[in-house]
Symmetry: C2
Subunit: 225 residues, 2 copies
Amino acid sequence: MRQLFEDELNELHVRFSEMGMMVNEAIFKSVKAFINHDKELAREVIREDKHINEREVELEKHSFEMIALQQPVTTDLRMIVTIMKASSDLERMGDHAVSIAKSTIRVKGETRIPGVEKEIADMSAAVKAMVEQVLDAYVKEDDKRARAIAEEDHGINDFSNEIYERCVAEMQREPDTVVGAMDYMFVSSYLERIGDYVTNICEWIVYLKTGKLLELNSNATEDEF
Amino acid sequence: MRQLFEDELNELHVRFSEMGMMVNEAIFKSVKAFINHDKELAREVIREDKHINEREVELEKHSFEMIALQQPVTTDLRMIVTIMKASSDLERMGDHAVSIAKSTIRVKGETRIPGVEKEIADMSAAVKAMVEQVLDAYVKEDDKRARAIAEEDHGINDFSNEIYERCVAEMQREPDTVVGAMDYMFVSSYLERIGDYVTNICEWIVYLKTGKLLELNSNATEDEF
């Protein structure tokens, strides 16, 4: 019975990690498509999102069955609960990759701002690195690393502030850039949300190890006001 | 034993619904603060967010204990899993109310656009109505209603498109409005995200009733391209 449970749990971990890699690939492709104005690649991201959604449903189903049939407690239960929760976050990260892909297809702005495109490329590289690291921290159940990764989300917000400043300056200088700059702002906001979801997964890793629900990068500090 | 379980489950439902009302209040106050440039009210939203976070931790803890100690199966287990998942969504809705409150405090734009402020007020009224409806659908476990509420999220996106169009037109016409229009765009995007979280909760209500994980308002339709 215990061996069966261990095998099933291991299978669940593997399937979850695979889902993470699928999502990482989707993010990478969607930004590549946006930067290169590659509508075909963008369509591919949209088409493939259904596999990510199917994987979430499958993980959900298996997790639920394992709880109901094997009635795990303490650490075993926490592992399964973590997968149930974190797989929803992964699925939504995939949705944001789809949003970036849709922006690529709908893109209206004709006037490009190369400096901002460079920032977006750098921001997406940083987000991709965070996603890879969080998947690794999950596999290793490394809560210290998870906390460190959540800290990196500040760096993502710095990119987003930088893109904001540049876009605002361009829009004020040259009204022709307004529509294009708004496209950049949207993509930057999707990447920022993906970073937020990575932080959520970091929180689940801490939960997995310690049983404590923390809010990493709390938004609710009023000291600064 | 069964009676004890029923009582605990009922208590869990009540505490979850209360959390929903706290979040709804936070959203309402944050938008009111933004529209009225009321920094004191905005600070109140930021301060009170910790009660929402504490409530999530408490729900999480009780849910976990109920699964571990009482080993529920089928519908009972699904109810607890739903609360575990949906409370994370409520908590994040509260975080977006905080983001709106922070925008209110940081607001840089001096040039206001009354037409857009009217749209934001209307959009937030629509979001508030959705939040109230989803809490009611949850209490009544009404999955049909949950599907209908998720449909209303298209209306929220219409507001957000309208705000986008107006802001772009103003920014192109008058560079002095760029910074203020970006503030509007941020608040509109937070409201849109809150609408997305309502849709997530609609999905959990469908899951609660049917055991099926659906993606309502799928973003991944490629037919339109």
